[in-house]
Amino acid sequence: MDLNIMSFENVTFTYMPEDETVRPAVEGLSFSIKQGEWIALVGHNGSGKSTIAKLMNGLLFPQSGTVTAMDQKMSEESLWKIRSQMGMVFQNPDNQFVGATVQDDVAFALENNGVPHAEMVQRVHESLRQVKMEEYLNHEPHHLSGGQKQRVAIAGALALRPRLLILDEATSMLDPQGRMEVIETIRELREATGLTVISITHDLEEAALADRILVMNAGHKQVEGTPEDVFFAGNKLTELGLDLPFAMRISKLLTEAGVQLSGEHMSEDRLVEDLWTFYSKK
């Protein structure tokens, strides 16, 4: 049976339990994530995404409902064991470095966990190789580009051999090139290791690569499904403060301008293909 990496059952959390007029940040939320899945969690600012991330790693506990991670109920007792099996990468690449060099930084959590030196060296090299940063072992983190920094942060998480990697807006501060580097790294990692990934993101292009998308709206789960399902639900997303992927926006505009397409396309390649068919038919 597939291991349940993370599941929420009817979870409600409010920052102000004493004030009933304040809507809970997350309300009645249920979902479950299987080993090896890539899940994108999307939603407008204030939809509850960050609260969910904090519930996932036990920084917050729900007022009602259950959070289960790695088949264990999240509690004060289990949370350290659970946390040791998940890695997190945050938004700001400059806020997550402690080491003076790239390898020191990646080794930091290993040292904290008392990993023996020989194994530590081996793991640092291995995880830097996985994100293609092994040439930068002795570089100073602050001289790296944003994309490189985030890849080192991912390596730091990987060195702990987590079963789950949570990316909390990890690409939102990067330039387009850095964003591509990070997304490509995650893709390759998933292919090579089958790591479970939860990415919390505004970037619909990034979400389109996931196996499944959870769309949050005002503390509730609004839609859940494959990228196709979610994006073809169409206008709803725009109402929720989100956006469609670029190729779909152009597809819509083209349809409005009287160009007959075979459908709305999620990728630029497919859109170009379709336009070519249309063009060469006449």
């Binding site: 939603g43 407008h44 600012n45 204030g46 938004q91 580009s145 944003g146 807006e169 939102s172 501060m173 990067l174 330039d175 387009p176 090139q177 850095g178 505004h202 619909l204 725009t238 403060g241 989100l242 956006d243 670029f246 190729a247 926006r249 152009i250 505009l253 083209l254 409005e256 301008a257 009287g258 160009v259 630029e268 859109l271 170009v272 293909e273 336009l275 070519w276 249309f278 063009y279 006449k282």
Partner: protein
């Protein structure tokens, strides 16, 4: 208000062993009323240039002319208060600078600090909060009880409340959701037009630079290597690649399509609307010639 950077050089920690040269001979002219985008790879010097625009940094070589004031290397600059009021900077993640008890007080802080009477400061705050889409009840709340997107709006309102003539924006929408991003960028554009502001946008988003700017300056390794109109800058892909930049997605899609169909669209498409229109036009024309 015109801003002119003339042969500006800047070194961090000058005359110390840690001296690091960030800018070399930068020449940029920002004409009054223009909307200028400064683009460039991470570490190219964009943020250092930005801090010269209101004399937060003073050049270690060359000079910066801001309106009728001149900030020159080696010359002690006095009374920069006026410059700082006339040139408002919205820094990255400006919500980190909020500190007052209430949203209203936070927005009023800047103008009152510059001697604007309380009544007037309040009037501006209320008006701006509404313009930025903050609900009226938010004014009496602590800014720290708001969502990230709302905090961003409060911080922006605080800068606008100073009624600057030049508005400098450093990645103003980073971390906002797509709707918030669009609303804020549209608002800046609207203010630019209505109030005749001079706007400077530092951005990684080629799409925003293409859509809003009327001139673009590219920074690379501490130098301003190119400046010109968006349609010229983004038509020259080779040049962009040299500076580790990419054209906007609309231009990339246009090129993909042109290669596949063996046609050439009219001009270059700087916005999504323009791209769709261009494609529809080309396809219709294709039909007629058959």
């Amino acid at each position: 208000m015109d801003i002119l950077l003339q042969e500006v050089g800047y070194s961090y920690a000058e005359n110390t062993p840690f001296e690091k040269r960030a800018l070399h001979h930068v020449n940029i002219h920002i004409p009054s009323g223009s909307y200028t985008a400064i683009i460039g790879h991470t570490g190219s010097g964009k943020s250092t240039v930005l801090q010269h625009l209101n004399a937060l940094l003073k050049p270690t070589e060359g000079s910066v002319v801001i309106g009728d004031r001149k900030v020159e290397a080696g010359v002690k600059a006095k009374n920069l208060r006026d410059i700082r009021r006339q040139v408002g900077i919205v820094f990255q993640f400006p919500e980190q600078q909020l500190f007052e008890e209430t949203v209203l007080k936070d927005i009023m802080f800047g103008p009152m600090n510059y001697g604007v009477p309380e009544e007037e400061a309040k009037r501006r705050a209320v008006e701006l909060a509404a313009q930025l889409g903050l609900p009226p009840e938010a004014l009496e709340k602590s800014p720290f009880d708001l969502s990230g997107g709302q905090m961003r709006r409060v911080a922006i309102a605080g800068v606008l409340a100073m009624e600057p003539e030049v508005l400098v924006l450093d990645e103003p929408t980073a971390g906002l959701d797509p709707k918030g991003r669009r609303e804020i960028m549209d608002l800046f554009h609207q203010l630019h037009v209505q109030k005749g502001l001079t706007t400077v946008l530092v951005t990684h988003s080629m799409e925003d630079a293409a859509r809003f700017a009327d001139q673009i300056a590219i920074m690379h390794n501490g130098k301003c290597v190119v400046s010109g109109e968006p349609r010229d800058i983004f038509a020259n892909e080779e040049q962009l690649m040299d500076y580790r930049l990419e054209p906007p997605r609309t231009v990339k899609l246009q090129r993909m399509l042109e290669a596949k169909l063996g046609i050439e669209l009219d001009g270059i498409s700087l916005t999504e609307e323009a791209l769709a229109k261009n494609i529809a036009l080309a396809l219709a024309k294709g039909r007629e010639t058959e």
